[in-house]
Point group: none
C-alpha cells in the first residue's frame, strides 16, 4: 500500500534525470521508461503524452526549491542575512537544475494548455509573501512594500539573475560572486533594509 503512485513518481524522477542529461528534444520516451524500469506502454497509463510530464516536473521542482530555501534560511538571523540565504538557496538550486529549468520553460510554452505555471508557484509565492509581511511588521523593510506583489518580483528577479549566470553566461567564479553581491545590494536597497 506504500507504493501508491509509485510508478508515477518513478516516471517523474526518471524524466527529470534524463531531461537533465539529454535535453528535451533528444529525450525519447524510451529513455525515460528504461530508467524508470517500466514498460513503454505504462508511461501512457500515467501521462497522456511526452510533454505532459512537464507540469508534474515543475511541481516537483517548486517543492525542491522550497525545501532548499527552508533549510537554508535561519529564522533567527537578521533580515539582511536571511536575504543572502534566500539568494544562496535559489542560486544553488538553479545551478543544480539549470537544464531542467530551461526545459520547463521550453516545455511549458511548447505544450498548449499550460498556464498552470502560476498555480505551481503559488506555494513559493506564499512563502515569500509571508517572509516579507513578517519583515514589514517588524519594521525591517520599507513600509511601502506590498508583500503579495513584491514576493513575485523578488522570486522573478533572483531566479532571472541566477539563470542569466548559470544558463546563458559563461561566467567566472569570481564574477559570479560579484554579481551575487550586486544583486543582494540591489535587493537590500529595493526593500529598504537598514543595516
Amino acid at each position: 500500500m506504500v507504493d501508491i503512485n509509485n510508478k508515477e513518481e518513478k516516471i517523474i524522477e526518471a524524466a527529470i534525470q534524463v531531461f537533465k542529461e539529454k535535453g528535451i528534444e533528444k529525450t525519447k520516451v524510451s529513455d525515460i521508461v528504461k530508467l524508470a524500469g517500466i514498460a513503454q506502454g505504462t508511461f501512457y497509463l500515467y501521462f497522456p503524452s511526452k510533454l505532459s510530464v512537464m507540469p508534474a516536473i515543475a511541481e516537483v521542482m517548486v517543492k525542491k526549491i522550497m525545501i532548499e530555501v527552508n533549510n537554508e534560511v535561519d529564522e533567527n538571523a537578521s533580515i539582511s542575512v536571511q536575504l543572502t540565504q534566500i539568494v544562496n538557496a535559489i542560486f544553488r538550486f538553479t545551478k543544480e537544475y539549470r537544464e531542467v529549468l530551461a526545459l520547463i520553460y521550453a516545455g511549458l510554452s511548447t505544450d498548449d494548455n499550460l498556464k498552470k505555471w502560476e498555480t505551481i508557484y503559488d506555494a513559493f509565492y506564499s512563502w515569500m509573501s509571508g517572509f516579507l509581511s513578517n519583515a514589514k511588521l517588524k519594521g525591517e523593510i520599507r513600509n511601502s512594500v506590498q508583500p503579495e506583489r513584491a514576493s513575485k518580483l523578488m522570486i522573478a528577479f533572483i531566479e532571472a539573475v541566477a539563470e542569466q549566470i548559470y544558463l546563458y553566461d559563461a561566467v567566472s567564479n569570481e564574477e559570479e560572486k560579484m554579481q551575487k553581491l550586486e544583486l543582494i545590494m540591489f535587493l537590500e536597497h529595493a526593500l529598504g533594509i537598514q543595516k
Copy 2:
C-alpha cells in the same frame, strides 16, 4: 545594395513570424519557406540547419528592443521618468514577442554550441550600462551602483517580470498596472533614486 541578403532577411522575418504563431516545436522548415516565398532547398543555402536561424532571430530581437527603448526614452526627462519609460518599452516588447523570446531561450539552450546569448545582448547591456553611468555621474542614483553589473541585473529583472506577467500569469489589466508600479518602485529604491 538594396536586396543584398534579401532572401536571408526574408527567412529570418518569416521564421520570427511563424515561430510567434506556432511555437518552436510545431514550426516546420516548410512553414518558414512558404511564408518567405522561397523553395525548401533555398533555406539551406543560407542556414545550415533549422536551429541555426535562432541566433539570427535573437540578433534581430535585440535590435528591435533597442529601437523600442531608444524611441521611448526621453533624454531630457528625469531619471525617474526615464526608468518608467524603459520599463514600458521592455514590457511592450515582451508582450509583443513573448513567444519568440521563449523560443530563443529554448532554441539557444537546445542548440548545442550556443552560449552566444551573452554576445547578442551585449549591445543592450552596453546601452543600459551607459545609461546608469551617466545617471551615476549626475548623482541621480546611488554611488555604489556598479553600472556594468547593474545593467545586467536590471534587464534580467524587468524582462523576468514582464515574462511572468505576459507568459505565465493570466493577469488583469489592473493587476498588470499595479505590478508595473511595484516594479518601478522597487527599481527606484534599488538604484537609490531620489525623487
Copy 3:
C-alpha cells in the same frame, strides 16, 4: 439457467453495438468490455482473440434476420406478397445493421481460419429453400427453379441490392422505393411468378 453464458452474450451484444458505432478498425477491446461492464481480462475468458467474436456476431445476426423475416412473412398471403415481405424484411434489417454486416464481411475475411460464413447462413438458406420448394410444389413458381441453389441466389441478390442502397449509395427515399420495386419485379420474373 437464466444467466448461463450471461457474460458471453453481454460481450457479443456490446461488440455489435460498438462495431455499429465505431467500425471495426476503430473498435478497441477496451470499448467492448466497457460497454459490457466487465473487466478487460474477462473478455479473454470467453473469446481467444478480438476477431473471434466475429462468428458469434454473425450467428446472432442470422438469428435476428430470421426473426425479422418470420415476423414479416404472412404464411397465408400469395407468393407475390410474400416475396415483397421477404424483401422488406431483408431491407429493413440491412438498413439497421449495415455497419455490422460490412464488418462481418471484413472480419471474416480478415480472420484467417474462417470460411464459416456458409455454415452460419445455413439456417437462413434452409428456410428460403423450404420457401421455394413449397412454392414450387404449389406451382406458384416456375418448375425449373432449383430451390437449394436459388435460395442462395435470392439471399445474395436481395442483400446486395440493399447494401448497394444503404451502404454505398446516398439515395433518396423515392429512388429507394423505385429500386425496391424494380428488384421485386426482377425477382418475380426470375422465379416465374404468375400474378
Copy 4:
C-alpha cells in the same frame, strides 16, 4: 514526361499486389513502398494516409473489370450468349481479385469520407445500362425493364453471387458451374429473354 504520376501508379499497383497477398490489416506501408521501389516518405507525398489508397484502388479495379467485360462480350452474339459472357467476365474477375475486392469493401467502410463508391462504379453502371437499353430497343428483353435501375441490380446480383462463391463458400468446381447456370437462368427469366 512520360512518367507523370508514375510514382502514384506504382504505389497503387504495389498496394493492390501486397493487399492481395497479406490482407489489409497485415499490410504495412513499408511493404507497399518496398514493392513500389520508393522511400517511405514518398508514399505520403501522394496519399495522406494508408487507407486513402483505397478509393484509387477501387477505381483501378472498376477499370479492370470493364476491360474484362468489354473483351469478353461479342457484340454480334445473341443477348443470351452475351449475358453468359458478362457473367463469365465478372466471375473470372472476382475470382482473380477476390481478396482485393474484400479489402475494398472493408477499406471503404473503414475510411470515413467514402461514399465515393457510387461515383467509382458509374462508368460500369452506364455501360450496363446501355447494354440493357440496346437489348430493349431490339425487343430482346421484356419491355418493363428500366435500364438505369436494372443495370445496378444486375451488377449487384452477379457480383454478389460471384463473391458468395469465391469469397465465402468453399465450393467445388462442379457446384460452381451449377450455381453459375442457375444464376444465368435466373437472369434470363428476370430480363424476360426469349430463347
